[in-house]
């Protein structure tokens, strides 16, 4: 549990969340959401929660980003806000 590493990750996390919600193109929003999931997976690993980190990496970053991209692929890519 390295406090400085933890604080850096948290700052990146907040930045990734804001960017993922504000970017107009849905495909890049999904990918930045994937980055968000990887950052939070790093955070869990740093906090000692290794099982949660593994699940977050596999389920959060891997599969949910994929579902988002599959849906954006089948609907519209640009969003109004």
């Amino acid at each position: 549990m390295i406090l400085s590493f933890d604080i850096i990750l948290l700052v990146f996390l907040v930045v990734a969340a804001i960017i993922s919600l504000s970017v107009k193109d849905l495909l890049s929003a999904s990918m930045i959401f994937g980055i968000y999931s990887f950052l939070i997976c790093l955070l869990w690993a740093d906090m000692g929660a290794v099982d949660v980190a593994f699940t977050e990496a596999a389920v959060g970053a891997g599969v949910s980003a994929l579902f988002l991209i599959a849906t954006v692929y089948n609907t519209k890519r640009s969003s109004s806000d």
Partner: protein, 264 residues
């Protein structure tokens, strides 16, 4: 525009209430906080019991797996039921058996580089090489969940992901040839049947539901602890089967808009 005003008001109220609560929290990382070391007046700290006695009870070094699959296995069973319900809901909502939902042209027309032939060769071969390795690692993750981070869910997702890689490399039909719709729906039900069947078996042998200690007669182990360890592995296998089937089912339905014909 009104939605933004509502949102800011709601967020402001909720945020200030949450922060008002946070001011009362124990210090971050404090080993003697109530959650970590319990409070007098109650039944004693549960997490300290897990840390000190879970190895004696279940012979499983990974405390999270032992709590997940044995102490609170009722929770995990319903977690698997949540995934099964998600798969069934998606099937009920999206799956169409007619020629396909009204095909609204999506944006595939304007960037056609995805279907170039060279893409097929590079991605195809790398995926075909990666799939067996991913599956082998997934089986290791399930089996080795007792000693290292991992277990039913993570292994199941990796197995499902290996089929998804296959679908991305060739096309959905190739993956469906290996894991057809009837088979993955049946596999999902079989997974939960393994889990709750094991629990029901404990009931038949006289103990409460999901009380694995009594299964030492079935597994012929020399003590209830090893029986717990083996039945935890059995439960993890059940969870992995359901998660694998449903993750692939969700991908297949989402990518092909429920027609299971042409996909991503």
């Amino acid at each position: 525009m009104i939605a933004k005003i509502y949102a800011t008001i709601a967020v402001f109220i909720t945020g200030s209430l949450l922060i008002y609560g946070v001011s009362d929290f124990p210090r971050f990382g404090d080993a003697r906080s109530p959650a970590n070391a319990g409070v007098e007046g109650g039944a004693g700290s549960i997490s300290e019991y897990y840390i000190t006695k879970s190895y004696a009870d279940t012979k499983v070094p990974n405390i999270v797996t032992s709590v997940l699959a044995d102490y609170r296995s009722y929770d995990t069973m319903f977690e698997t039921v949540v995934i099964f319900v998600a798969g069934m809901s998606i099937f009920a909502i999206l799956r169409t058996f007619r020629s396909g939902a009204p095909l609204v042209e999506n944006f595939r027309k304007d960037d056609s580089f995805i279907d170039g032939d060279h893409q097929r060769i590079i991605v195809g071969t790398t995926c075909r090489l990666a799939v067996p390795v991913v599956q082998l690692f997934a089986l290791y993750v399930i089996a080795h969940g007792h000693h290292s981070p991992g277990g039913g869910f993570q292994g199941g997702v990796l197995l499902g992901a290996s089929y998804i890689i296959l679908a991305l490399a060739d096309d959905l039909a190739a993956a469906l040839r290996r894991l057809s719709e009837a088979r993955y729906l049946m596999l999902a039900a079989v997974g939960i049947a393994i889990y709750s069947g094991l629990g029901f078996l404990c009931m038949l042998l006289g103990q409460n539901f999901l009380d694995y200690g009594v299964l030492e007669a079935v597994f012929r182990t020399d003590g209830p602890e090893m029986a717990r360890s083996h039945s935890m592995l059995g439960v993890e296998i059940g969870v992995a089967a359901t998660v694998m089937a449903i993750m692939f089912a969700i991908y297949a339905n989402l990518a092909s808009k429920g027609t299971l014909k042409k996909a991503l």
